[in-house]
């Protein structure tokens, strides 16, 4: 609108009348007035009060709002979407077993159904209230009336709008006078609202609008272009760690290897195993026939051997080494035909083997029997050999082998 026109409209005719406003002091007065106005057949009117005055709905003949139906609809939608959500995600799209619970059952899904029902109903109730009340309503002709500011404090008002078919400046005033108001005042249509937004606000909105597009633009650019630099990774989650992994290249060393080879002529601590007798059970090219000097041939070693044998050998070879351990018995009972029975190590041919060879069998494994060197310490392997020897001896002994005082117990 041109400046010329604006001046003209303000100067010439005063703005049209919006309605007549009457003021009251107490709830009983406004209730009384409301009844009278309603009885007079006025239709376009309203009362304004600092709080919900008890009984005003009846006095004004306000019909029950449809809001509860909004809430009901939202509640049912919430319930249905909770059922659908849980069924689709947990029982259909990605079904997986957890704690042996069924993929889909009502009881486990009730809490979420309840929560979503309440959530949607509550949001809808508030939004529905605002929509039905035509809120937010930034401006209203009543805002120009000074005394109306006390409507949110302690005064009660009644407005008859000019749009009412029975409205007539003189008659309506007379009608209002019969309700004993404190004051009656004409309310004019709101013409003072500026036609243009303040410049600052306009620029602010433009800057905000442009700025709010930037993140989306950046995301879109990243989505549709290629880049050789690593992605932006705000939180590292230990993804990159300052260390070299196996097979990685290391530019620091001339050969480029991150894993360094041993320096020539050196051995890592504890790796010098040049005692063949002790570590290999060998004596020259053949198996050693004696225990190495590192192994003490005494009661303690024997006990250690029995204990280790119990842990590592009995599952297959059984308590006395005859090849009837639990694993073997179970395998036999399954009768799958693939099981190689563990050897009875008290057999003559095993008994004839030198101790070095027994040590070798344990360390390196033999045919279907796996190697135990990685699991059992060298000393312990020798201890087991010692115990195996004792077992073998026990299966071929005679009464003459027992000490004289123990012989009596056999009789």
């Amino acid at each position: 609108m041109s400046d010329e026109h604006k001046k003209h409209s303000v100067k010439s005719s005063p703005p049209p009348v919006h309605g007549l406003l009457a003021e009251y002091d107490t709830p009983p007065q406004i209730l009384h007035a409301a009844k009278q106005i309603r009885a007079a057949g006025i239709t376009k009117w309203d009362t304004y009060t600092p709080f919900a005055v008890h009984g005003i709905d009846d006095a004004m003949g306000i019909k029950m709002t449809i809001l509860p139906w909004f809430t009901l609809g939202a509640g049912l939608t919430g319930l249905a979407s909770a059922i659908l959500l849980q069924w689709w995600t947990n029982a259909h799209d990605y079904a997986w077993i957890i704690s042996g619970k069924p993929f889909w059952s009502i009881p486990a899904n009730v809490p979420i159904m309840f929560e979503l029902t309440v959530l949607l109903s509550a949001i809808t109730t508030l939004v529905g209230m605002l929509i039905l009340n035509n809120l937010p309503e930034p401006s209203h002709p009543l805002d120009q009336v000074r005394r109306f500011a006390r409507v949110t404090d302690d005064k009660f008002f009644l407005l008859i709008r000019a749009s009412d078919p029975k409205f007539d400046d003189v008659e309506t005033r007379a009608l209002l006078a019969t309700t004993h108001p404190v004051a009656v005042e004409a309310v004019l249509e709101d013409r003072v609202t500026p036609e243009r937004m303040p410049t600052g606000l306009v620029y602010g909105l433009i800057i905000f609008a442009v700025a709010s597009v930037v993140p989306f633009a950046l995301a879109a650019k990243a989505r549709y272009t290629k880049s050789s630099s690593p992605r932006i990774h705000l939180i590292q989650d230990m993804d990159s760690q300052p260390k070299y992994k196996a097979q990685r290249e290391n530019s620091f060393f001339a050969d480029g290897r991150a894993a360094r080879p041993a320096i020539e002529g050196t051995v890592a601590a504890g790796d010098a195993r040049d005692d063949d007798h002790f570590y290999q059970g060998k004596d020259g090219p053949g198996w050693a026939r004696t225990f190495p000097s590192e192994v003490a041939l005494n009661e303690a070693t024997m006990d250690r051997g029995r204990q280790r044998f119990g842990i590592y050998c009995t599952p297959c070879h059984g308590q006395i080494g005859q090849g009837d351990g639990m694993v073997s018995r179970r395998a036999e009972s399954l009768q799958q035909g693939t099981w190689v029975a563990p050897t009875n190590m008290t057999l003559e041919y095993v008994r004839q083997q030198p101790v070095g060879q027994l040590f070798g069998t344990i360390s390196n494994g033999i045919r279907s029997m796996p190697a135990y060197a990685p699991q059992i310490k060298t000393e312990d392997r020798w201890a087991i050999v010692m115990y195996v020897r004792a077992l073998q001896r026990s299966r071929s002994g005679s009464v003459g082998d027992l000490p004289p005082d123990a012989r009596a117990s056999l009789k």
């Binding site: 959500l85 990605y94 899904n109 929560e115 009543l142 500011a149 949110t152 404090d153 705000l234 989650d237």
Partner: protein, 455 residues
């Protein structure tokens, strides 16, 4: 019931404009240029605690949650104790607003607004702890069903997931309820504003409310519906929280008594927090005529009643443990009272069961400072209740070889203490800038508001 017709005011002097007096009383706090010195002192103190909170959370984010004392077997430790403690506090507000509204307990109008505010701030504090306890606090969205490239969904058969929905729904609905209740009061603030900033700011949040009776009609209906929705909700939240424990097989947790026991405890602790805040607030903000001794007395009665329920639950747990004949259950409860955490157990019993009994004496429950002290004691007791439930059960379960003893680290204590800083900061800002009392409701239930004239 007699308490429903308690008036927030004593008999008014003749010719007194009661509505204006209520408006003045409440708006003065937000409109005065300088709040009382006590406000500044409290706010400064709250800021220090808040700083400690942010510092300790930053430390935990940077170093990982190993900075806390959480360990095996007590993996839940302080964060979950604090979570359950705060979420429990956040029950009184909605209970007062919704349940007492449905029961037409009109005395609630004096205290409902700031009880609601307290609820929301407590839920804010509560939400932070599980958010941090997940270990990577930047990934909390994993808990929500957001479509993603991994095609993974939350596991809806888990009570922990129910908890996510229960707590976030509760927070949302509480905020809606609180906000809707404040709309007419914001309009009052807007209409009294003397500066443009105030007029615009309160004008935006008041959404153009002008008190039309046709709008009041829809508004009241909406308020009633929200109250009806919030009532089962408030009872469900702590029930769901208790499922986190009750559905586990751990002795001391695996009991059906948990949901009602937790809800009663929450109301107990929540009301204790309301009186703890109400006593100084009415003292320093001149609200003694709106929040009267009668109100404090009624709240103390609720505290006593719920305290007795909680005491009954403590006893019943022992009875059921013995009656079940399950030796692990029996051991757990004997261990609770006489084991390494016995000190915590007896702190809980004395704070929650013994001290509230003082309220049998009218002199005590009508005395604001006694009310305040017992309120504080109950708060301590309720914190220890959660500590006892979580730490004693977890620290000694089935196999003695996996037992342990949880000891909090200084960071634990700083996060707990600091969370009070956040709570009080929010609460003090609320007191200063928002309508602390539901003016329109208090007016409606004042003698002048209830008057019907010649009809």
């Amino acid at each position: 019931m007699a308490i429903s017709d308690v008036n927030p005011f004593e008999a008014p002097p003749a010719g007194d404009n009661m509505f204006a007096r209520i408006t003045d009383n409440v708006t003065r706090i937000a409109e005065t240029a300088t709040p009382p010195r006590a406000w500044y002192i409290a706010f400064g103190f709250a800021q220090l605690l808040l700083l400690m909170f942010l510092g300790s959370l930053g430390y935990v984010i940077w170093n990982g949650i190993g900075a806390w004392g959480n360990m095996m077997p007590v993996a839940w430790g302080f964060p979950i104790v604090n979570f359950v403690f705060w979420i429990g506090i956040g029950h009184a507000g909605t209970l007062i607003s919704a349940v007492l509204f449905l029961f037409r307990q009109n005395w609630r109008t004096a205290i409902n607004r700031f009880a609601e505010a307290m609820t929301i701030f407590a839920v804010v504090c509560a939400g932070i702890f599980p958010g941090m306890h997940i270990g990577r606090p930047w990934l909390p969205y994993y808990m929500f069903p957001i479509p993603n490239q991994m095609d993974m969904w939350p596991q809806f058969r888990s009570p922990l997931e129910w908890d996510v929905f229960a707590v976030s729904t509760y927070a949302t609905v509480s905020i809606l309820f609180w906000y809707m209740g404040m709309i007419p009061d914001f309009a009052t603030f807007r209409d009294r504003a003397t500066t443009t900033v105030r007029r615009v700011a309160y004008g935006i949040v008041a959404m153009g409310w002008r008190g039309s009776s046709r709008q009041w009609h829809v508004y009241e209906r909406a308020y009633l519906i929200l109250a009806a929705l919030a009532t089962p909700l408030v009872l469900s939240v702590h029930s769901v929280v208790s499922f986190d424990f009750a559905t586990a097989q751990l002795p001391g947790w695996h009991t059906t008594i948990f949901p009602p026991y937790f809800v009663a405890g929450a109301i107990f602790g929540g009301f204790a927090m309301v009186v703890t805040l109400a006593v100084p607030a009415r003292q320093f903000f001149g609200l003694k005529r709106i929040i009267t001794i009668r109100h404090l007395e009624l709240m103390n009665k609720v505290i006593m009643a719920t305290g007795l329920i909680v005491g009954y639950a403590y006893g019943m747990e022992f009875f059921v443990a013995w009656y079940s004949g399950n030796k692990y259950e029996v051991f757990t409860f004997v261990n609770r009272a006489f084991g390494p955490y016995g000190w915590a157990y007896w702190t809980m019993i004395s704070c929650n069961v013994l001290f509230p009994q003082l309220h049998w004496f009218p002199q005590v429950r009508r005395n604001p400072w006694a009310t305040l002290i017992i309120g504080l004691i109950v708060n301590v007791g309720m914190w220890f209740e959660r500590f006892v439930i979580i730490c004693t059960s977890l620290s000694r379960d089935f196999l003695p070889s996996s037992w342990g003893y949880f000891v909090p680290t200084p960071v634990d204590l700083m996060t707990l203490g600091g969370s009070f800083g956040l709570f009080f900061t929010l609460f003090l800002l609320f007191c200063r800038y928002l309508p602390m009392v539901a003016m329109s409701e208090v007016k409606a239930f004042s003698p002048a508001g209830l008057a019907h004239g010649d009809h």
